[in-house]
Structure formats: structure tokens, C-alpha cells
Amino acid sequence: MSSIPTHQPLVCEEIFDAVKLGLILIDGEGSVLMWNNWVAEHSGIPAEFALNHPLEFLFPDGLSSPFKTAIKNALSHKLPIILSNALHRSPLPIYPLPVTQDEQKRMQQSITITPIGINEKEHLVLIQIADASVSIKREGVLKSHSVKLSKEATTDGLTGAYNRRFFDERFAAEFGRAQRKNIPLSLIMLDVDHFKLYNDNYGHPAGDKVLISVVKKLKSQLNRPTDVVVRYGGEEFAVLLPDSEREGGRIIAEKMRAAIYDLNIPHNHSKSADRITISVGLATYQPGTSCDAAHLLKAADTALYDAKHSGRNCVRCSLPSE
């Protein structure tokens, strides 16, 4: 800024109106002191009209609650505030050109609010408005492999359950933790009965819908953030319950079985019921025993096998030592 010649204020004013960004400066009472060209164009409100009026007056119906709270906060303390496009979308009535004033067509905005001219008693507040639609697309295009991978690395795209890769890491971590801290760990393995027959008869899209509903139902039986539902295979799921005794695990297993049964999704080609059901196997690691992670996994698998061969739509438990 130091090398700008003596007509500095005029140059700054030109810059202010040339930037491709909305700039609004408000005073300690919330009244507009400066309103740049970009804002005038994209709001349909000319600067001469906006100056010295509060924002609420200029946009009587148009400001979101969080935006008003943000301005209130900005005026009372001196900390910078952001209103991301992710969480707010379009807090101000700002539009792509030509301006339509149609609520549905507001511009996607990304807003930054910063204190300006701070002195002991008061300060001004600068509101910067950026068009977020540009950056969202760019973000999407430029998203590096590693970030996509890390997201893909943990969730199953169809159902939203965690995926097998996540399970392998988490199971090992939780088992190790259970051993170190001498706490129990329960593992449920379950699968959807006669799922292949369902797909063959009702079609794969319907089958996908079933899996999505099943996962949603399974998740709603869980309360603790450490309890996770994993899509282990095509129609096979695992539920990891750290710090859970056998009895607690059994209660959850039964709740899950009953909840899926109560979904009442008709399956006329199931050999065990008139609807979608699950077979559930449970195994629990007890601290102090010599069982390792592989044993626990095998035991849960064996219990599931047992459930399948006991007529399906049931819960079977096994001890890792069996």
C-alpha cells in the first residue's frame, strides 16, 4: 500500500468498486457506511439508497437468523466470523445477474465478517460476500485423490454404513484397547436372509433399498458413538460394540433382529418367513481370556452360521473358546 501516489483515496475507491466480491462496511450501530458496486448490482439496491440504513431495513424479510446473530456478535466483539456456504447457502438476498428477487434463485454465498478500524471504544465491521458456486465446482474438480480416498476409505457408498476397510482398522484398534484396559468387547455378525432370492425376484434396485433400510434400522438401535455398523460383505453386516458384555450384546442383537422383522418388508421368496429377516451371530471377548481378535471374529462368524442353520430370523451366541 505504501507506493500508491497522492490520489490514494480515489484509487482505493475505484478498487473497492472494481473487485469481484461484495463489500459492505457497517458502523457500530449496524448502518451501512460503504456498499460496493458488486453488492449494488447483485442485490438490486443502489449505493445511494443503501447508505446510512441498517441492513435489516434494506432487506426486511431477507436475512437469516444465523446471519443476524453473526452481525450482532461482530458488533459486540472484535473477532472474525465466517458463514460458510456449506451451512448457510444463501443468507442474503443476493442474486446472479440479472437480479430476479426470486427466493429460490439466490446466489450461493460464502461470507466473511471482519472487524475494521479497531480502537478502544468502537469498531466498524466489513462484510465480504463471495460467490460460492464458483468455488464449489472448483473444489469438486481439484479435490485431491487422497481426500476422496479417505472418505471412500471409511464409508459404504450405498448404505452409509462403515466399510470393510474401516472395520479392519477399527476392530483391531478396539480389540487392542479392550485387552489393554481389561474391558469386554462384543461383535455381532449378521446377514439378510435369502437376499439373493430377493434380488433375483424383486430386482437389484429393490434389493439396494432393502439394504439401505436395514442399515438405517440397525443404526437406530444404537446409542453410543463408539458402537458402529459396518457393511462387511454384500448382504453381510458387522456391529462392533466396544465395552459391551455378552448380555448387553445379546440384548442389542435381539433388538436388531426384531426391528428388521418389524420393518415388514415383504419377501414372498424367503424360505423362512414372509418378509425380510436377518440371522444374527454374537460373540464376546472377555478380558483375561486368551482369545485374540481373529478368534473373536471366527466365533461371531460361527454363531452366525449357527443362526442360519437354526431356521434363520434368530440370534445365536458363542464363546470364543468354543
Binding site: L79, S84, S110
Partner: protein
């Protein structure tokens, strides 16, 4: 080697809880659901002693939102969550109609805002109650391998003392645990404690 008395820790915990209450209120206005945020403990550590184990962050990757505060004392403040939690939180904040794919695109800016809301609420609470004035930089979000990220945070800030606040955040009944970490120089910590003592002795 400064350490804090129980009463100083109590006062700081109260200050942060008031901040947390305000942040929760702002967050629930955005999310449209009840949001609970509380600070159950505050502890002081030497930065050199911090690693993933100490903070019990058992995950491969860590998400960190950082703001640098300046005032009568200076501090680098950070909100830390495991990356899994960060993704879940963003997903919960954006509403369940957003697909899993979209969440990753928005993670950076949503986490910046979450960090900004929580850090601002805690620091403005401190400013109000201790009657001081604080300014700050804009938030920056970074994600990386857990231990490496922690070490980088510590070496960049180059401050010997670390105030660690364990925080509990619950959105839509899903409970996430994270940390607020303040890196301070010894003189800043002393200054902070002077202000806290002033506040306590005025009671």
C-alpha cells in the same frame, strides 16, 4: 514451571462452559436441532509431552481448525477432532439429505465455521468475564496424519505450555469428543493467570 491452582482451573472451566453454551446456541440455530456442547475438564500440559496417546485420539487422521488470538496475552487456539468425527459432524450439521459424497466437498469450509463458532464463543466469553479485549485471525482447517499433525501444530506455535480442554459435542444425539487446545508462551500463561486471579479476588 507454572501450574494452575484448582480455583484457577475452576474459573477457567466456568468461563469456557459459558462460551460452550453460547456456541451450542449458535450451532442449534444453524442445524435446527438441539446441540449440546460442554467442557468437562481443563488441564495444563507442557507441549513437549503431548502426543496422540496423551490426548487419546485413536485415529489415523486428525482435523484441526486454528485461529491465533492477540490481546493482553497471545494464544494459538485449535479445535481438534479425528477426521472420522469431523466428517460425521459436518454430515450432521448439513442435514441428512446431503449425500456422503457432498460432505467431503464441504468438509473444509464447514469445519472452519464450526471451529470459528466454538473458538470465538470461548474467547469472547473470556474477554467478557475477564474484562479484556481480544482479536484474532480467520480460521484455517487442516487435516493430516494424527501424530504428524500434532507435532506440526506444536512446533509451529513454538510455545511451551498447552491448555487442553476436553469437549463433548452432541448434535442429533450423536456424541462426539474433541479437544480445544490453546498454545501459550509462559509469559502469556502468566498474564492469563493474573487476569483470572484478578477476577477471582474481586469476588
Amino acid at each position: 514451571m507454572t501450574f494452575m491452582t484448582e480455583l484457577q482451573l475452576d474459573a477457567l472451566t466456568e468461563i469456557f462452559n459459558i462460551g460452550a453454551g453460547r456456541a451450542a446456541s449458535s450451532l442449534s440455530e444453524i442445524v435446527g436441532e438441539e446441540v449440546k456442547l460442554s467442557v468437562p475438564h481443563v488441564k495444563l500440559y507442557q507441549s513437549s509431552k503431548i502426543n496422540a496417546e496423551v490426548l487419546s485420539l485413536n485415529s489415523a487422521r486428525l482435523g484441526a481448525v486454528k485461529q491465533s488470538f492477540i490481546g493482553p496475552f497471545n494464544a494459538d487456539a485449535m479445535l481438534l477432532f479425528t477426521e472420522e468425527r469431523a466428517m460425521e459432524i459436518v454430515h450432521d450439521m448439513m442435514g441428512s439429505q446431503v449425500s456422503i459424497e457432498d460432505v467431503a466437498e464441504f468438509e473444509q469450509e464447514a469445519m472452519c465455521e464450526l471451529g470459528n463458532i466454538i473458538l470465538n464463543a470461548c474467547l469472547s466469553s473470556m474477554a467478557d468475564i475477564l474484562n479484556i479485549s481480544l482479536e484474532s485471525t480467520l480460521p484455517v482447517y487442516s487435516v493430516g496424519e494424527t501424530n504428524a499433525t500434532l507435532q506440526q501444530i506444536i512446533s509451529e506455535a513454538n510455545q511451551p505450555m498447552m491448555l487442553v480442554l476436553h469437549i463433548d459435542l452432541a448434535i442429533e444425539k450423536r456424541l462426539s469428543q474433541g479437544y480445544l487446545v490453546f498454545l501459550l508462551s509462559s509469559s502469556s500463561l502468566k498474564e492469563l493467570l493474573i487476569h483470572i486471579d484478578r477476577f477471582i479476588s474481586a469476588i
